[in-house]
Subunit: 412 residues, 2 copies
């Protein structure tokens, strides 16, 4: 998993990602009319991370940029994306581009959960005529749950009920997929009923790999329930399904027979439809709000040329607490420019693997220093990519300032 010491924070993540996006896609800062931030890495209860991003636009004189921060666990990114797209479709749209930033620093106190940490961020450019087109139907499920939350404001660490969290994620997927299917049927009554065969890829919020594989199986279970005559289920014997075929869906959330049956049945499909989306999360660990869009980046950054053209992606967003949506993206033009800009394979390969002790030292350093003011970080900037922003100083009034890692120059 990726980790950071005291040299980075969510603001430096955001500055790095958005500055990189502007540069790679050659965006004139004046052409941006909205920036949305999704994060659950809060270092201020009032001031938005978005306000810090305005520093990237100050030189251009463009201060007319709507949007602030969206918050609910890992779902903030999806809320931000929906908000940015809705703006482009609204009467208040002024013809300019939107940017969505999503990122988090996922840290856990010492113990079993620490292994599901991670860190990562991404930025997305939103506007008309995009290669990736959001389809209009969202199947959403929200509820009041205490599966994962951060009520101890003085700590970086969450309160987690791991078992409840997995169950809530799975139950939310059930509800979202059901709502998505019924809304699709209402909106497009002439179309074939929704099944996972209608998607070439399935992109999940991916806290860790095993949950994703289970949930891909879960969607096949729903397809089977809706139509057991589909070819994929031809080999399912009466005997194999006897233990659960009459059990209500909500009672099978942690049913091992359902899980085993449909994960097994979906093994090959999982390799084809899901594994290509997991490159970032395998390398960076849990990126919280960045997770789902890191998975999207893994797909786009892993497939060169026009090979994604015409493909259709299922997307499942989840944030504890809980908020979740199932929706679809259609690829309507070549994604090769994004493949080139992402340069994902090389960038992930350039991340060094470090000894566990260095990780533990970094966690201890953060734990000791993350609430301090009048503080100058001690972590090295040598490990950061050129062009990255880093935290330079927190002054005696908690005001933060940032530096930029110089671009590498070749010695004469």
């Amino acid at each position: 998993m990726a980790y950071i010491d005291d040299r980075e924070d969510i603001i430096s993540f955001a500055l790095s990602a958005v500055a990189s996006l502007l540069k790679k896609y050659n965006v004139d800062p004046k052409d941006v009319g909205r920036i949305e931030v999704g994060t659950e890495t809060l270092i201020d209860k009032s001031k938005a991370v978005k306000t810090h991003l305005m520093d990237l636009f100050a030189a251009s004189g463009n201060t007319d940029i709507e949007g602030i921060d969206s918050k609910n666990a890992c779902y903030g990114s999806t809320a931000a994306l929906f908000n940015a797209i809705n703006w482009v479709e609204s009467s208040s749209w002024d013809g300019r581009l939107a940017i969505v930033f999503a990122g988090d620093i996922a840290v856990y106190e010492e113990g079993a959960a620490r292994a599901v940490g991670g860190a990562g961020a991404c930025a997305m450019l939103i506007g008309p005529n995009a290669p990736l087109v959001m389809e209009p139907v969202h199947g959403t499920h929200m509820a009041n749950t205490y599966d994962f939350y951060k009520p101890d404001l003085s700590s970086e660490y969450p309160y987690v009920d791991g078992r409840l969290s997995n169950g809530t994620y799975t139950g939310a997927l059930d509800k979202c997929y059901a709502t998505y299917r019924s809304k699709m049927a209402r909106r497009f009554p002439a179309a074939e009923p929704v099944t996972m065969d209608g998607f070439d890829y399935a992109v999940f919020h991916s806290p860790y790999g095993k949950l994703v594989q289970k949930c891909h199986g879960r969607l096949l279970y729903h397809d089977w329930l809706a139509d057991p005559t589909l070819p994929l289920y031809a080999g399912l014997t009466e005997e194999a399904t006897a233990s659960f075929k009459d059990t209500p869906v909500e009672k099978t959330v942690s049913d091992k027979a359902v899980e085993k049956t449909f994960v097994g049945l979906g093994k090959k499909l999982y390799q084809e439809r899901v594994v290509p989306t997991l490159t970032c999360s395998e390398r960076c660990g849990n990126m919280y709000t960045g997770s789902l869009y890191g998975c999207l980046a893994s797909l786009v950054g892993g497939v060169p040329g026009d090979k994604l053209l015409g493909k259709r992606l299922a997307m499942f967003a989840y944030g504890a607490g809980c908020a979740s949506s199932f929706f679809a993206i259609s690829v309507r033009a070549s994604t090769h420019e994004m493949f080139e800009a992402l340069d994902l394979e090389a960038r992930l390969a350039a991340m060094e693997v470090r000894p566990c002790q260095e990780y533990v030292d970094a966690m201890n350093l953060r734990e000791k220093t993350h609430t301090l003011k009048d503080y100058t970080p001690v972590g090295s900037i040598d490990d950061l990519f050129p062009g990255s922003y880093y935290l330079e100083r927190i002054d005696d009034l908690y005001r933060r300032s940032y530096g930029i890692v110089p671009e590498k120059t070749v010695a004469a």
Copy 2:
């Protein structure tokens, strides 16, 4: 100003306001497809206030309700409102209503700033064919400022630079109004140039009254700069404007002569256009995200019958850090149903004035208890309106549960 003890929190505010809205407007919980929350009263870094509101919809089985929390100081409400409206105008709109909740508990540590505290909340129903119609043009200004922020996560109190905050507010108004005017000119090239005479009312984010009066004057200053031949400025002598007429706008933000001249000139207009919007903030103090919409409620709740029909409102939203927008609302149908539902005069009159010491005791109680878990609040529920939600308990895992003040019954 309004204050609370440990019996209320931002979640109880939200439950009270949204439950009341559903009841007063007889909204079927199934007809709600989006709820947006704007607040800077954060009690969890991850879990959204929005998720708690889902409890109000659980009985109906409606969990398909998009939207989470928007955060940047007092601007969260306006971001939430824009998001809700954009959703209704988007291709993903499913035909249902949206609700925007905005509210805050504004508390300051002992000292001069404590007097600009307050508390309050409101909920708004968003959908097609509304009496109050948002116009499409927004003039927005955002920047990275440290005028007011909450970096000490363990405290309820903000860091404030009062002088900087006033200057930032005023400078933001300058920029927003200028951007609004130029965007209006581009969008409606045949229309008359924007002046404040185009508005019947001016509704400001109102942390305290004096700032609002100054800023109303400030808008007249801008109108004069744009066209000194307008009738309102006929009496302005060369002498009266000599000290500032050639000064660049950004140098006059705290210019006393500009302030005096245009506040003086606008005195009568201020009474007509602004004072009717200040009823809530005069009684409740600073409502942060709720402030601007409390001002809107003051107007709608203060004018019976169809008297607002055809009127046009200027709106100025500001949140420190900073985020700000100038936009307009047109009244296209009678607001009498809202006047009746708000029942504002009676409800404000029913608020009791309490001795200062009780307020200080309540602040001390909050200060001592606001980070506790395994805690049962001690504040009385006798002072809360019937039907209000209150905090019943915070358990040993910081999970919060709520009760409802019984509706009053007449003794047999």
